[in-house]
Structures are given as C-alpha cells and as structure tokens.
Symmetry: C2
Subunit: 277 residues, 2 copies
C-alpha cells in the first residue's frame, strides 16, 4: 500500500517536472525523493516513469497515477476540513437574528448558559434566517413574528417599539405619538446595522433621505451636534439611555412595535434547551 506522503511527492513531481525542484518544494533532499519514488513504483508493481540517464519523466502509467494521487489528496484534505468543521460546529452555537437588540441579548444568554461553547452571531433578513436554520447553519434564530411551521420550536422573547428621537425644537416634539407618514419628507440620521428595521423607514417614508452611518460613534456624534431627527427604540433607551438633546415620540404604526420569537428546530431542541427556559 502506498502512503499519502508518497502520493504527495508524486503529485509534486507532476507539478514541478523534476525531482530536484519537487524535493526543494517539499523540503527534503533529492536523493530521498528518488528513493521514495522508486519505492512507490515498486508498490505499484508497474513502471511509472520513463528513465533516461539524467532525466525522469512520466510514462502513461505515471500520468494516470498522478491524476489519481491528486484526487486522493484532495479527498483527504476534504476529510480534514470536514471533520474539523464538524468539530467546530459541535462547539459552536450559531445565532442568527433579524435585529441587533434581541441578538445581543441572545448572545449574552448563550455565552452564560453554555460557557464551553463558542457563540457566533449574524444579522440577516428573515428568509435567509429560516433557510439557515433548516440547513443547520444556525441553531437559533430570532424573528419578529411567530413561524407557523411545526418543525420549529418557538418562544416569545421580548418586544421592541420604534420611536422618533426629535430635537425639542421640532414642531412634533410635544406630540404623544406620530405616524411615520407624518414625518415623511424629513431627512433623518440612521444607523446602518439595524437588521430588518431598515426596510420600514424606506417603505413608510419614501420622501425622506436617510443619512446612514456605519459607525456607532459617528452616529452619536452627529445626533449630539445636530438637530436632525433619528430613530431609537424602547430597548435602546433602556440599555443605552436616551440621547441628551432629544425628545422621544413613540411611532404609532403597528409595524413599529414587534414581538420577537426565539426559534430552533424542534428535533434539535435538546442542544439548546437552556436558552428556552
């Protein structure tokens, strides 16, 4: 039986054309490679090389062997990658969510409840989340609605309500509530990573321009130093406080108040049971 190291050497010879060059690449002396290939040849029991005095070249047999060798080495690499990936997956809880607020909560919970696990998290739209849950990409996803498929196990996990944060001088600053259409046309500051929320303003306030900020710091700086309105939610107010120079006005559109649901595959519930207690 040949060994993978030999096949690797064969493959290197196929790639580099001479034993010397291949030996160099493989970090071994060239006589060693010579002997190794002689041994491989004897294990095949048939000639693989066309030998002239100072030239070694492939024969038909050798070409075929080198092709096979390459496939075998690739398959071996697949094995290593696959097994390592499986191992990593078994030590990882992957959480996908539609919005940042429930995601950070879930990540914190997971890290606390499964201290040996790595927690990975992603912000995605609902469709890829459900897809990923089915394919095993995620163990847990968080949606802003209750999926009706019975293969899922599902549990309510908090609510979030979007609000306007207006400067005190704003004409609507004294209102108890506003519809989004009331603000349509006004330019607003907007944070980029807000998950599924990004679709709502765009849809309900088609005449507004949103000054999208990728960096949290930049956004806060702009909020502090301008009178542009922006969005906050009841959750961000609780966790991060209300911007100093802003008045909070709840948004009355029903879509602006959501209930989050933590979802997993029912068959894999045991793996993540603690997160549902």
């Amino acid at each position: 039986m040949p060994e993978l190291s030999q096949l690797e050497q064969l493959s290197a010879f196929a790639e580099y054309g001479t034993l010397s060059r291949a030996a160099e690449v493989l970090h071994m002396s060239q006589p060693t490679l010579t002997r190794s290939m002689q041994k491989l040849e004897s294990e095949f029991g048939v000639p693989l090389f066309a030998r002239s005095k100072n030239k070694l070249a492939f024969h038909e047999n050798g070409k075929l062997a080198a092709e096979y060798a390459k496939r075998i080495l690739e398959l071996t690499q697949d094995m290593l990658d696959g097994v390592r990936a499986l191992d990593r997956a078994s030590h990882t809880i992957s959480i996908g969510a539609c919005a940042p607020m429930p995601l950070v909560t879930a990540v914190q919970n997971a890290a606390r409840l499964y201290p040996d696990m790595t927690v990975s998290s992603e912000l995605k739209d609902c469709t890829p989340l459900l897809e990923g849950l089915k394919t095993g990409l995620y163990q847990i996803i968080i949606l802003p609605y209750q999926p009706n498929d019975d293969t899922f196990y599902c549990r309510e996990s908090g609510t979030e309500a979007l609000c306007f944060a207006l400067p005190p001088t704003h004409p609507f600053a004294d209102r108890d509530g506003l519809y989004m259409k009331d603000m349509d046309g006004e330019n607003m500051l907007l944070y980029a990573n807000i998950g599924f929320w990004h679709s709502l303003p765009a849809q309900k306030m088609p005449h507004s321009r949103f000054l999208v900020q990728n960096e949290r710091f930049d956004l806060e700086e702009l909020v502090a130093s301008s009178t542009l309105p922006c969005f906050v939610s009841d959750v961000t107010i609780r966790t991060e406080g209300k911007p100093e120079n802003r008045v909070i006005v709840p948004i009355l559109d029903p879509e602006a108040s959501v209930t989050y649901y933590t979802v997993c595959l029912r068959e894999k519930l045991t793996q993540v049971k603690k997160l549902f207690i």
Copy 2:
C-alpha cells in the same frame, strides 16, 4: 498529514468495533494500534473518539472521519487497479475476430512481430467487434467484409471458402459444387467455435439438424467413424488436411466464400503497424 496506513487502521476499527480485534486483523500488536490512533487524532487536531477507561468508541467526528477514510482507501485501490490495468493493456495486443482461422493466423503473426507483448484473442460477432475496437477493447479486429468508416484502417488478409465434406457414398459426392439449399434437410456434424460461420448453415439450411460438437477431438472422431456430412474450408484443408473418408465439394453460395479484412483504428495504427506489412 495522516497516512493511508492510519486510515486503514481507522477503517478497521470502524469495522470491528474494538482496537484488539482490529489489531488482530491488521496483524499488529494492540498497543501499536492505540498509539497510531492517538497520533491520527492529534493530526486531525480534534477528538475522534469517546474514551472511557477501557472502552474506545467513535464520536461524531470519528464516524465522519471513518467514512471519509473508507472512500479514500477505495479510491486508492481504484488507483492501483487502474494503473496496473493500464500497464497490462500497454503490454497486450488484443485481437478480436469473426472466425477462428484468420484469428489463429493473426495471433501467430502478432506473437512473432511483437515478442514482448501478450496477445489476447477473442472470437465474437461483427457488431461487438466493431464496438470493442472503438472502445479500445481490441487493437485489431478481423471482419469478413470491408468497413466503410474512415476512422478505420483496413487491409485484406486472406480468404476462406466453405465446403461440404461428404462421404464418398453420398449421392452428391461426385458433384463439382453444391448450393446449401441442395443439402437442406440433411443432418450434419458441426463444430461449435466457428465464429460468424455459425449463422450461415442455420439460415440456408433451415430443415437440417446440426450435431454441434464443442470438442475438436469429439468432432474428428465422429467424422472418422460416421457417414454424416460436415463442413470444412479451403483453409482448414491446407492447414489440417482433408478428413480421410470424405470428398470435398465446394459450396457455390456467394456467402460461403469470404475475404477477411484486418482492421484497426487509423489513429492507433502506429501501435500495430507491423501487422499490416
């Protein structure tokens, strides 16, 4: 990088369930196998086994690795088989013919002209012969007609004419020639391995019964000790002589006289050039 020997051991453990049993099958001591699997595990970098004090079992990772290992070993075996088969093919001239007489001639020529080659030969009908020539199963085939496809290279190689061998007492024994229909209804001795010839008597003499003999010796014995007519050809008469107690009467049907053609793929002519000189 793991080695194939280790994958073989992993696969054996998967098959036999315990290290001791696997070690026994692999003809090695069991501590050796323990160490080898420990090393394999360290090369993967992830645990493959669930270890209790005196029990070793697969983990998910290990199961996956063992599946891969099996595939890799199969592929390796395919490589060995494939390369060896290719080598054998390169030392073999495979000749297929429609009839025995031109075949033995061709085999003798091939053996003489290519003394380092193994010559293999087969008797087949024309359709599988052409098929086999295209797929590389044969390098040379011999047909009773000239193929009109231009991918073939083709050369006339002798003729053969079928005759009746009648006992001197037979009513037709003094004829200069006979059509097969003249003999229709008479029972005849027939040798089994006559290639494409077998179809002719069956077709032209539907009312005859043919006493088919698989053994050459049996046929000759029956010819010598009976008055049943049989077939010979001008070639068999030249090479093996005429049966003592028989009169030769040529068959006048045009199908009973054929010209043989030696055929090879034009693109592979150089491999078998000598046979066409």
